[in-house]
């Protein structure tokens, strides 16, 4: 039963759809009608109508073919267009990549520059806190001059002190010698004769004078005594 139905189905399908679909079917039908027309024994009018009908179908086939060809051309051109756009976009992408890399390098450079500027500013702040170099140099020069002046004065005072010391030393040594001489004289005198009170007074005065002295007083008075 199933097999019979299958056969029926197949026969029906072949009958209905045997020619294919659309254009293919039209061509098949045309071919079949052409062979029928060639072999038909009908009247010339029928033949003519059949012939006209066939021409119509042929024209339909031709127009459909023309349409398909145009669509094919159009597709080809679309493809080209798309190819062009595709390469264009690719180029744009690579150039954008390059630009990005450039910009990144720029950023790195700018950051380095900024860092250097900030370091410079930080150091400049510290340097500003210290006084100006010219000022300091001037102060140093003034101080140097003052120092030299003061050392001059010191030298002078030292020289004066030395001189006075030497003079005074001379004076003292003279007094000592005189004292010695007087002592010796006194001793020799005492051995010979009695003591002279005047000389003993002189001796006391000399011994007193040599311990407590002031150079201004003694200079003329000692000479005075010696003369005596």
């Amino acid at each position: 039963m199933g097999a019979v139905t299958d056969d029926e189905v197949i026969r029906k399908r072949l009958l209905i759809d045997g020619d294919g679909a659309g254009d293919d079917r039209r061509i098949n039908v045309l071919l079949k009608s052409f062979t029928k027309w060639c072999n038909s024994p009908g009247t010339p009018e029928e033949g003519f109508t059949q012939y006209q009908r066939m021409l119509g179908i042929l024209a339909q086939c031709e127009s459909s073919m023309g349409k398909t060809l145009m669509v094919y051309d159009m597709n080809l051109r679309e493809m080209e267009n798309y190819e062009k756009i595709y390469t264009n976009i690719e180029q744009n992408i690579t150039s954008a990549h390059d630009k990005i890399a450039e910009c990144k390098k720029e950023i790195q450079r700018a950051k380095r520059i900024r860092k250097n500027r900030q370091e410079y500013d930080a150091l400049a702040k510290v340097i500003q806190q210290h006084p100006d170099r010219h000022e300091t140099l001037k102060q140093l020069e003034a101080l140097d001059k003052e120092l030299m002046q003061l050392s001059h004065i010191k030298e002078n005072v030292d020289a004066k002190l030395e001189l006075r010391k030497k003079q005074f030393h001379v004076l003292l040594s003279t007094i000592q010698e005189l004292q010695q001489t007087l002592e010796n004289d006194e001793k020799s005198d005492n051995d010979d004769s009695q003591e002279s009170p005047f000389l003993s007074v002189l001796f006391c005065k000399f011994s007193f004078g040599s311990t407590v002295f002031s150079k201004q007083h003694f200079k003329p008075s000692i000479l005075h005594y010696v003369v005596l």
Binding site: R112, R114, A122
Partner: protein, 335 residues
Amino acid sequence: VEAAVGHGSKLDVCVLQLLHMSVFSQSFSPCGRYLAAGNNYGEIALFSLSAALSPDATVQSQKPVLTFTAHEGPVFTLISSDCHLLSAGNGEISAWSWTELIKKVTVSLNTQQPGKQHDLIIPEINAMIINPRDNSLVVGGGDNNVHILDLEHGVFKSVLQGHSDYIHCVSVREREADILSGSEDGAVRIWDSRMDQSVHCIEVYKYESCARPQYGKWISCVTTDSDWMLCGGGPSLSLWHLRSLSPTSIFPLTGCQRQAAFHQDMILAVGDGPFVSHCLLGGEVKAQIPCTPQSLNTLQLNTNSTEHRVLTAGGSSDHIEVFTNLSYRAFSLSF
């Protein structure tokens, strides 16, 4: 019931642990794809940056790929050399191979202890940095001295003595072969690494513009850019010109800064307060980017990789903040 109670208390312990966790140190791998972070329980966690930063990252990718216990005490400092991760905590320095860690093998290669081996008290190590000039490791810790370890031979070359209190932080000046150390005694000392002598000693708290007596005189962060130095802690964070040893800018940040870094034309600083401060060299604070932890201990920039250029900050929380764009927090990695 017992099983339920047992499970509950274990969960509570885990949650409590996470609550009290602090991240003390971070370091990026030489390839730039992994971040190692050390916490106060002695654990080091390895996070995969490529997984966390990929477009299809999930919550799982923000968890560590590997967590292991490296030390008994907290891991105070982590640093990466070309192929090793060095960690230090309470007195010993351990070396781990990065390739092994990435393969999840956690065997310590070498363990060193600075100072004399037979000391009873082993001081903690607070800071380490690698001196690229002579491939040595500069270590500063609780015994007031800076130790220098030769990385090629694994022996301690020299000891720099001069500080009178423990050392918080060390830094290396690339161009001049100098080592800088900041200590609890308030002094930043500059050492010549060739002569092993202290060249300068800057007592920051003695400068009126920087000093903040209410916080103390300790220096907790020192970092240098060869000509310039940033230091802060008790005194305010300040920028110093090293040639003239004078402070040029003081940054008006409240709280004590624990780590600072130079980045392009800015200065990044973290410390007390739940934010990362961006400052300009002139002394003004440009921005303060908020973060989740209440205070931050460590800040690191990933300079080892171009596609994972992130800034990470960790502090008194089990979260590590990740910044892909410096202006805002992108996401957090968690232990």
